[in-house]
């Protein structure tokens, strides 16, 4: 099969899934089977694409010219490939998890839930594989609009209010800032295509470049760089599978991916580094990392704590990209993958706890480790990966970021990395400690506590993602190799690869 048809399939499969699901409205088992089949098929297609990309291929698909100079076209390169693999792979696990969660919680309107979920995945695929800024923008908005009904899924006044904030911040920022940024880029560069080395070299002054970068970064509110992060904690009213796959992986990663992609393929890291136009962003992102961690520390609602943790971790990706150096780009790219695996595990655990015990607050979790040993073990693994300890995947991204900071002698970045790691320990491991070592509240007896795990699909899903955190430690060669490739095209001098 050719690369172009694989790209088409990667977009068509989730779209077709979303169209098929309503047909099985009355038969929940068939409906969920459709989602699972769609997810597996999509992953298979994406893996085929991956094989081609790893062999050095750059599959492309030109769909249609909307206007002269404005076309819907796709072009697969390693960075997008990485994002596509993560999003589609985790969709399988998440679909499994959704079955347990949605049925366990007796959520209403499950059909529309699965429909919009599939549309959101299609949006994420479009973002990942986009070959130019317009295509990226198009699917970025698809992602926003398709996740809005998921945020408001419960239709409670609180959910509707959160949805309003979500839509206004994401759509508002993208229209007010991202769209002018794209128009400006197209106007100045004469093209909107992503090209290795960027398209803006020599076409724009240094100050203007910094301004354009600001439009891009803040226009991409999905990246949740402060002060445009409020939508993310608010979006936690959504059912947990949404928080897990969309608001820890697909949506937020689409945001940081967009920033990363624009820095590499629109500005070009060499151009940026020469102009020093991204210097300010290192500090803004660093500030976000530390501040969001501090806020996370003070959250009692488990999902909100995880959400602030996500805000903080996302800015690592932005910070790495803003350093405009190869090692930073590699660190950022890896962090997209590593954080995805870790954070989805944590959200799965939070949802499993909610389904099994209806507890949503950290302060209620005393001693829960005895009733839910598998879940809390997975939570521990996820936490350790986020913290960045070997033998877990999360170590590698921090390693590369540290390397980049050291290479440029950035004490600020090193400080941010250390501070955030310590804060991670404080706000994540404290939960684990409570769960395993504190005595259960309400004077429960010592000794026998009956095991009370969430429905099995949930447990299987969270075990799988925890396992993935470990696997990523050993499999890091694959994404790392791919990322090295793009930084080398961007930077012919190359970087020293230490084994």
């Amino acid at each position: 099969m050719t690369g172009a048809s694989l790209i088409a399939l990667a977009l068509l499969i989730p779209t077709a899934t979303s169209l098929l699901i309503p047909l099985f409205r009355e038969r929940p088992n068939m409906r969920e089977a459709t989602t699972l089949v769609g997810a597996v098929a999509l992953f298979a297609v994406v893996v085929l694409l991956l094989v081609e990309v790893m062999a050095g291929g750059r599959p492309a698909l030109h769909l249609v010219d909307v206007l002269p100079g404005l076309s819907i076209a796709f072009n697969v390169e390693p960075l997008g490939m990485l994002f596509a693999v993560i999003a589609s792979g985790l969709w399988i696990v998440n679909s499994l998890y959704s079955i347990g969660y949605m049925r366990g919680e007796n959520e209403p309107r499950q059909t529309s839930f699965y429909v919009f979920f599939a549309v959101a995945i299609a949006g994420a695929m479009g973002v990942a594989l986009a070959g130019n800024l317009f295509t990226l923008f198009l699917f970025y908005e698809v992602l926003t609009l398709s996740t809005y009904p998921l945020v408001t899924h419960r239709a409670t006044p609180e959910a509707v209010r959160a949805g309003r904030l979500y839509l206004m911040m994401l759509l508002g920022a993208s229209m007010l800032l991202l769209l002018p940024a794209i128009a400006w880029t197209g106007f100045t560069a004469g093209t909107l295509n992503f090209e290795p080395g960027g398209i803006l070299s020599g076409k724009i002054g240094n100050v203007a470049m910094a301004g354009l970068l600001a439009l891009f970064v803040f226009g991409t509110a999905k990246a949740a760089v402060m002060p445009l992060h409020f939508w993310l904690p608010a979006a936690m009213v959504a059912p947990t599978p949404v928080s897990a796959l969309l608001h820890a992986v697909a949506v937020v990663k689409a945001g940081v991916f967009t920033v990363l992609k624009i820095i590499v393929y629109v500005f070009g890291i060499d151009t940026l580094a020469e102009a020093g136009a991204s210097e300010w962003l290192v500090y803004v992102a660093g500030f976000t990392v530390v501040t969001a961690s501090l806020i996370a520390l003070r959250q009692d609602d488990l999902k909100r704590r995880l959400a602030y943790s996500t805000v903080s971790q996302l800015s690592f990706v932005v910070m790495g990209a803003a350093m405009a150096v190869s090692a930073g780009i590699i660190g950022s790219g890896l962090h997209i993958a590593m954080h995805a695996a870790g954070k989805i595990t944590l959200f799965f655990c939070a949802g499993a706890i909610a389904v099994a015990t209806h507890k949503t607050k950290v302060s209620e979790l005393d001693g829960i480790g005895r009733a839910m040993p598998i879940t809390m073990t997975a939570f521990l693994i996820g936490s350790l990966s986020i913290i960045g300890l070997p033998p877990l995947g999360g170590m590698w991204s921090k390693w590369w970021l540290m390397l980049a900071a050291a290479e440029q002698g950035r004490l600020f970045v090193i400080f941010v990395l250390i501070a955030s790691t310590l804060l991670n320990v404080a706000y994540l491991l404290s939960i684990v400690a409570r769960a395993f070592f504190a005595a259960p509240r309400g004077g429960a007896q010592e000794g026998k506590v009956s095991v009370n795990e969430a429905p099995w699909p949930c447990v299987v899903a969270l075990s799988l993602t925890a396992l993935l955190c470990v696997l990523l430690f050993f499999l890091v060669e694959i994404p790392q190799g791919m990322l090295l490739e793009i930084t080398q095209t961007a930077d012919p001098a190359g970087v020293s690869i230490d084994e």
């Binding site: 909307v66 206007l67 908005e141 206004m168 508002g172 229209m175 007010l176 002018p180 128009a183």
Partner: protein, 492 residues
């Protein structure tokens, strides 16, 4: 036959109107309307193809020379408008039967269709004719018909709305005819092309400038340029649903055509945009419409009124494109004439379907209606995205042209204002979506379901067009840009 097409374009609906009035019964009257509505686009598309292949068409009535008689002159610009009006008319006609039957007393239905055809005749006539006074005649035909269409609304406030529009419309028409009179006095002709030729030497004389002012203000009233829009919200809100759909999609668009025809073809870019501060005034008013009217839309409790205010705001985008007076801007304006016709047509039809089923379009009455009429309200949502200008919809294409046109001029602040104003659309569209989809349906909506296919099909066709022309704008933007080039080149 081919040679007579320009005449047929206008004569056919005129005779249809007469026939419908004579049969006096609703079913045959509707049948006549359907036949005429389906023939109209055939003629207009043939004309468009002919214009694209062979250049402008000139048709003189009764073989009088253009100097004395009436000339119909069709170039790319008005061919585009003919296509728009007639195609919209054909697409929406299936919607009419049940909607009109539900909203208008049986004994007046034949009259309604008769007047509707008369209105279409007037609008097409304004677009097709090349004679300034003939424009006035057709303008009055369409206006008088419009007053009746509005007054046939079932709400008694429709009468007041029609009366309000009658007063305003008459003032507008009077201004227009005064301006034309002055032009005639100065140039000795009513033929637009000849006026354009003769005006060059006398363009700075006071009567010509006064004529320009009278004509611009007169047409601005008809096209509802902010702040001359006050007749529009009530007219759209209280007219029968079908009339609203037709008027929103076509009537203001024809006035816009007339506007650009006079500014670009008759008076000329040099005079209007270089020597006079028309551009500045228009931009200020357009931006005021984009923000002011859109903000008012946010606070409406009746969805038809909300959409009407939104129309005033959207017209601001069109006039903004005209005021920029460069190729991209004018293309953006012209393409938004088409896109906005599709978008508002779809939105008003969706709301018309809600009125048909639920009997109301007040926002508190439609809580939860999304679950009762899922197809209709999904269509509303997608058309709403078009209004916002989400990429992948036709609305984005217009916006993109306008942004690029602002950057062409180096006015980045204007680009920012354009995107900022579209965020207001997010608010008013989002408000409807929130109420329609995320509230529990109230008891009054029990048993309400999606409308029958003949109402649903036109909505879906329009929505499909909104998405299609957002993904492949080759046809719409291509035609609009050809029209823009023709306008910038002038009539000479």
């Amino acid at each position: 036959m081919q040679a007579q097409l320009p005449a047929l374009q206008v004569v056919l609906p005129l005779f249809g109107a007469l026939l419908a009035a004579m049969v006096r019964r609703s079913r045959p009257a509707y049948g006549i309307t359907v036949i005429v509505s389906l023939l109209m686009p055939v003629i207009s598309w043939l004309l468009l193809v002919q214009v694209r292949n062979e250049g402008p068409i000139s048709y003189v009535f009764g073989n009088w020379s253009a100097e004395l008689g009436i000339e119909y002159r069709i170039d790319l610009v008005n061919a585009l408008l003919l296509v728009l009006v007639s195609t919209v008319g054909a697409v929406i006609i299936p919607f009419a039967r049940k909607s009109v039957a539900a909203e208008i007393p049986e004994d007046r239905i034949a009259w309604f269709y008769s007047v509707y055809l008369l209105c279409m005749c007037g609008l097409l006539g304004v677009a097709i004719t090349g004679d300034a006074f003939n424009v006035f005649v057709f303008l009055e035909i369409s206006s008088l018909a419009t007053y009746i269409l509005i007054a046939l609304g079932r709400d008694r406030r429709a009468l007041l709305a029609a009366y309000q529009y009658l007063i305003m419309g008459t003032i507008g028409a009077t201004f227009y005819v005064i301006g034309v009179g002055m032009l005639y006095a100065m140039t000795g002709t009513l033929n637009l092309a000849m006026i354009a030729e003769r005006i060059v030497d006398i363009e700075t004389t006071r009567p010509v400038l006064a004529a320009l002012a009278f004509i611009v203000v007169g047409i601005s009233l008809k096209l509802a340029l902010f702040p001359l829009h006050v007749w529009l919200p009530n007219a759209y809100a209280y007219a029968p649903s079908f009339a609203t759909v037709f008027l929103a999609a076509t009537a203001t668009k024809i006035a816009i055509y007339l506007f650009v025809r006079f500014l670009f073809s008759v008076f000329g870019v040099g005079l209007v945009f270089t020597d006079l501060p028309v551009s500045f005034i228009l931009i200020v008013l357009s931006v005021a419409a984009m923000f002011g009217a859109a903000t008012v839309a946010v606070f409406q409790s009746d969805i038809k009124r909300m959409l009407a205010y939104s129309s005033v705001g959207q017209i601001g985008y069109i006039t903004l494109g005209i005021a920029l007076a460069n190729l991209n801007g004018l293309t953006g304006g012209m393409v938004h004439v088409l896109n906005h016709a599709l978008i508002k047509g779809a939105l008003f039809m969706a709301i018309g379907a809600v009125v048909f089923r639920a009997g109301s379009c007040a926002i508190e009455d439609i809580a939860g209606i999304g679950r009762r009429m899922p197809i209709t309200m999904s269509a509303f949502v997608i058309a709403g995205f078009g209004l916002i200008g989400v990429p992948g919809t036709a609305g984005f294409v217009s916006k993109w042209y306008l942004i690029i046109a602002s950057l062409d001029k180096g006015w980045w602040w204007l680009a920012f204002l354009i995107v900022a104003s579209s965020v207001i659309a997010v608010v008013y569209v989002g408000r409807v979506i929130e109420v329609a989809w995320f509230r529990e349906p109230n008891d009054a909506l029990k048993g309400v379901k999606d409308p029958p296919l003949e109402i649903l099909a036109p909505i879906l066709i329009m929505v499909f067009a909104i998405v299609y022309f957002g993904v492949d704008a080759d046809l719409t933007a291509g035609l609009a840009s050809e029209a823009a080039e023709a306008l910038l080149a002038g009539l000479r």
